[in-house]
Symmetry: D3
């Protein structure tokens, strides 16, 4: 697979079959712990078609999530994928919200598996005292991620404060404050 | 189509073909203005497989959106559908946010058409002095809607305040205040 | 989206994501009445991937249909789409024919919605005294349209008259007369 | 999940896997010539999910077409399938009409293969002196067939003559005559 | 359709619609018997998107299979397709193996039709005294074929003998012997 | 298939949405090592729709694979899924065979990720001195598994020895011996 083409198609243009080799299907190093000492206390290491070209058209990808103590993978969606997650280390409070506005949540321990249905808002929070690690698989080679708070308050544009003030039922000045914070941390 | 079955499948169970009639493909009254004098100043009238059983398996649906002056159809997603919208009356400030965290927005006048790609966060706000009306079509007979602010702060569960405090970088007490407001208005 | 490429794929080649802007998702002017004073008394204004490049791969499109008094959108199919239609103005006699050879029809008034399932023959006729206008949405960004009478009697080729004479159980001379009319009006 | 119900779904309900046997995947006798001495001079023997239950969900089916001398399989569509056809015996004039209103046609001899893309109007006519036989495969277990002339002029309903008169640019009396003929031969 | 492009996509790049003609949808000569006097006693003549470019994106293809007496189309899979097969001449012992490890088999005579579900291991053996001929259709324009014995023992690589010895519960020397035979006959 | 059955659908019938709870999306205990001291030296712990009902219709599943020293997950296919695998512990020699009959293989260490495209024959072998563990995700909630050697030589049926003798170019007596071994170990 060749990712630097001028011509893009749905997903990516494929290499000529004769030029493909086993290396196109390999990604190394997902066991490396990543430093999650950022503001949210979590870091995602994706292994999708951007990192592993052989996934192109095959409808699946992976990600590793490292959590610092109390770290949060904040509410987000994957517009094109369901996620299935297994805890490798630590304890996670996880949940997704249905279109009926109900939170489905569990506290997961090592070895527990949970499903986040396609495109629904979901999150994972480390509720143990040490680090936590999870491995996730997603039902698309290019699932996309939309972090909700950053999308709304940190989008380049930005979203008009009156929209966010009314949607969240908060003061416009608070909206502007939040937009400034997200702009600074972007 | 029979929508009151105990057994649900992907979507809904179909009527026996011999029992289907033209009435199963008809919905009346989408021209009726709806009163949008609620907190947000907007009201959505869906015409999907719940209201129009003949849409089952056919991959499309409609909705009418009425806006009071300054009314807002707040940031939301359709987990299973792209939306295409045309303005029938008034002026709308509309936008969606990409997975690259960029706001794509326009001010639409009567007759303008805009596209909101599958499952991305988007909104529409009436920026004219009078009422506004839009007609939307969605690429699923059962698109689903997830209103973002209400999902996060008003979900039955509820979401643990520490998740929302960290995600939005706000105080836990503000989170609890917002959760109380959304619970009251739910 | 770039529609003038030498290389075409399923649908169209996508622009590089960095070059896309909000303009790619906007189409203006669908509120403009179109003159339907042609032979059939109807005119279709499509808003699909040809007119609105941002629809590419997103599985939906729109169209406006203007009818003169007694105007007809004649029997046709969309090979790749279901259609959902709402009447904006006037009264329409509409119908589709099932594979079991049954006509499902209704007379629609302003605000009525009707569904024409994927690829089945269907039509709409203005049965009011004034103009009529309908808005349709289709479950493909590139639905295609095959007007039945014109396909059969007006195709460049043309279809051998003996095929049409036998299929419609009419005289070959009548076939040739019809072919000449459609050729002249093409 | 609840597995014990009496229902119809998209297509057909599947047998319990334990009850399935090789007989569910077998259909016998497609080599039997069928008498095509009817008005059109052709007869289709379908082998789809109605005749061969094991095809359910598998996305393919077959049909045999027998032609009397000068027999015609008249213009029709398969709303849910592409067709690929091979001539087993005789000579066939075949064609389909594109959405650009162009006839693509060929005269096929024994062993020739032709493709009729999804849902487009197409036909096959025996142009040899003897019988002809073709074998077709379709890209759906339930492709459906809509015979164009019979749909329009013979549908139970029926279609209002004014629609057909205007669409075909013929006199209403001729429409009524044709409707009477198709009703009689239905 | 143009198959010699530098840019490949899912399947193949399409010709510009204006350059397509009826010839792109035609393949001639599938009635020609092929010589099956090879080691296995069978030969497959494919008619897929490689031979018939008009099939691109249309989800179907064909193949003719010629069998010498006692000839075998050995156990294989089509990773992307279901197969439906009809016997044109002779008697075939055919079967497929389910994921529950059950053989579903039949002896087919002329005119019998059998289904081999998507991607399952299946085979056909001539059990009559003369030649046999079958026609197959597949639910993909590019179904792919993986001959099982040749894949395992004849792959360029090759597969490490210890894998095959353990999988088949045979001696490593036998594995090496088989690998040598397949390499010689490749 | 019978249409009046107590029923299965594509996948499984869904619970009424009101009856679904977070427990339907949870599976516990995938961290438990499993004893792989069987003939092949490997054991697979699936987490698909059979074990985790909430996966229904969502297009993804997981599995854990435990390997004893020198243990083998023998050549097999998943008829309905691509697999992406990450090594949690140990060293694995892995490979898949293309439809062009080429082995794509790698030796994976802890943290390495490899892709096995949809429905192609593939295998994993422990080449380290200790146990090995891998986690796999599959692009279907019901991927199915077809173990090649056991399918061919151990299917209930069984496959006629002459088919296997000719396919593998081995003696019929060896085929019968292998069939007896697989029958005994089934």
């Amino acid at each position: 697979m060749e990712l630097n083409f001028a011509v893009l198609v749905n997903g990516f243009v494929c290499k000529n079959a004769n030029m493909v080799s086993a290396d196109d299907f390999l990604f190394r190093g997902l066991d490396n712990p990543r430093n999650a000492n950022n503001m949210l206390g979590s870091v995602v290491t994706p292994v999708n078609v951007m990192q592993l070209a052989g996934l192109n058209t095959l409808g699946i990808s992976m990600a590793r999530i490292d959590f610092a103590p109390y770290g949060l993978n904040p509410p987000h969606t994957h517009p094109r994928a369901t996620e299935i997650l297994v805890v490798l280390e630590g304890s996670l409070y996880v949940g997704f919200i249905t279109t009926g506005n109900q939170l489905f949540y569990k506290t997961l321990e090592k070895g527990d598996v949970f499903v986040f249905p396609k495109a629904l808002v979901h999150f994972q929070q480390n509720v143990g005292k040490g680090n936590a690690v999870a491995l996730a698989a997603l039902s698309s080679q290019n699932p996309g991620t939309q972090q909700i708070a950053r999308s709304l308050f940190g989008a380049t544009g930005p979203v008009d404060p009156s929209v966010l003030a009314k949607a969240f039922d908060i003061d416009s000045n608070l909206v502007k404050l939040l937009q400034a914070k997200f702009a600074a941390s972007g």
